[in-house]
Amino acid sequence: MIRVFVPRDAAALSVGADEVAAAIASEAKKRNLDIQIVRNGSRGMLYLEPLVEVEMPKARVAYGPVAASDVAGLFDAGFLEGKPHVLAHGPTEEIPYFKTQERLTFARCGITDPLSIEDYRAHGGFVGLAKALHMKPIDIVTEVTTSGLRGRGGAGFPTGIKWKTVHDLPAGEKYVACNADEGDSGTFADRMLMEGDPFCLIEGMTIAAVAGGAQKGYIYVRSEYPHAVKILREAIEIAKKANWLGDNIQGTKYSFDLFVRMGAGAYICGEETSMLESIEGKRGIVRYKPPIPAIEGLFGKPTIINNVMSFAAVPIIIDKGGEFYRDYGVGRSRGTLAFQLAGNIKQGGLVEKAFGVTTRQLIEDWGGGTATGRPVRVVQVGGPLGAYIPESKFDVPMDYEEFAKVDAMVGHGGLVVFDDTVDMAKQARFAMEFCAIESCGKCTPCRIGSTRGVEVIDRIIADVDREKNLALLEDLCVTMTDGSLCAMGGLTPFPVMSALRGFPEDFHKPSPDRFLADAAE
């Protein structure tokens, strides 16, 4: 029987993957052809979604982007035999966008049926956990430390140190918490992995539980990701039945229960302590640190908190060894990062590459420039709290330290591309507006500073005491940076000041109101 793959990833669904799958099924029935449709995850070439693949003896052959109306034509052209068509791209893994990547975390994503545990095992799944179950917990921690893995959520804190802290505390009630509140614009790697390879996250978290001595874990997923929530819940049940979760995992002394908690549309809950409050059923108000969550975390107990991408990197680290992972990357940024090309980009998608690749390579070689065909003016790297990077910095390698040197941050590797029609004063205003909407309200610089920031930028745009207000904006940004409790207020000045420093001309345009007033005279 011929196997045809149509992704069930939310991004693929958003451009009609379900309709395409239905059309293929009905067309096959009409033609009396015996096919099996597999709903896989996404390969990450989102510009080609819905990307339909047909399994040939040697390789899978890709067609995309396929619309339901293309399906009859594909059958006529003989796509089930891998024959040419205007939408054909040849073997999927030979497509340059894909072939040039270094897929470690996303090695299985898009290849397997996300909810088939047999598929998962056939592609190297649970090898890391099987190994970890028979290692000394401290050796697991050492392996993660050796790998050089740093927090993939954006902050880049060494994962091994967090794990060691929890490991070294006396045995007792401990937790593992996964931050899947992927609220930053320009990021979708967490979602893609949860929908495309959920067992990988489950495996990574279970390894963390074994290393840290935790009995219970929570995955905190944002409510904007209903597909991910559903797939994760199903995957957890399947893993439990197969005894990769639950009591005495694979006959060992380790037991681990995993639960999914859904957020409710609060961006701040991506901040780790705010997330803990939310899992506890409270307002997502940021906690003071210390105590750090590794010591007093969820329900006041020691907690290993990591991002989806950090946990998902662990299975391969334990499977192949910390040194294998460490051999990718540059400087103190080791391993790979799942870069996400988003916004105004011709070939948007996920590019997993070792650290060291540049912004220019990503947006030109993979991204193919803007979707609108206009020149790229600026790229925001690392989410709404990341800096706006002008063209002059496009050749800085993606490396935590190198980016910090130019007042920017790699963060989670999300890149939002803008063409030359963007107004950077408006983008700076939006950064303040977003902070005002999403601030938890606990500390003054963030809660009030962001609202004042919107007002000050409005006056700058309107050319009211412009020079004075520019000075005031800089001063306000210093206060927010130094005085905020967490990254929300502390990093909002990043996009604001980078817009101001990189694109001062946008803040010095004639006032639209004054222009009208002049014209009226």
Partner: protein, 176 residues
Amino acid sequence: MAKKAGNKPNGSMTDHTPALTPVEVAALSVCARHGNKPDELLEIFHELQHQLGYVPDATLPVIAKALNRSRAEIYGVLTFYHEYKRHPVGKHVIKICRAEACQSMGTEALCRHAEQSLKTKLGETTPDGMVTIEQVFCLGNCALSPAVMVGEKLYGKVDSKRFDEIIGSLEKEAAE
């Protein structure tokens, strides 16, 4: 003191307790399904909203009692999160992403188009109660911007034309 077994849904012991409204009964049973555990409050709100379309204020005292928390705490949690609605919304809730990636692909124009074509502001419901439109920040579909979500169905690359088609399909569905 003589106790008379009540046959009211919450098993109240006196005749002075007014009968529970259907909404209160719904809230109690959702709480019970979650073991009356305070840490499951977000899940409780999600489930109630799924059932009733919003979380009525009338449910707050009963939830507070079931979870052994103060009404202020329950109210505080409900009002902290953007996702929870305290008032009835349209039959369909349309979320339009206004975050940076979608901005770079013209979501501001899409928002204006939505407001004008539906004659409804973001955050409000059409007079016929069919559609509520609201802004959200990121639906995780940033490579296929602008993104829109209708209920739990995600749409990518939504321009004004595609938006009208989505509205059209909802109207068609309602007419059938």
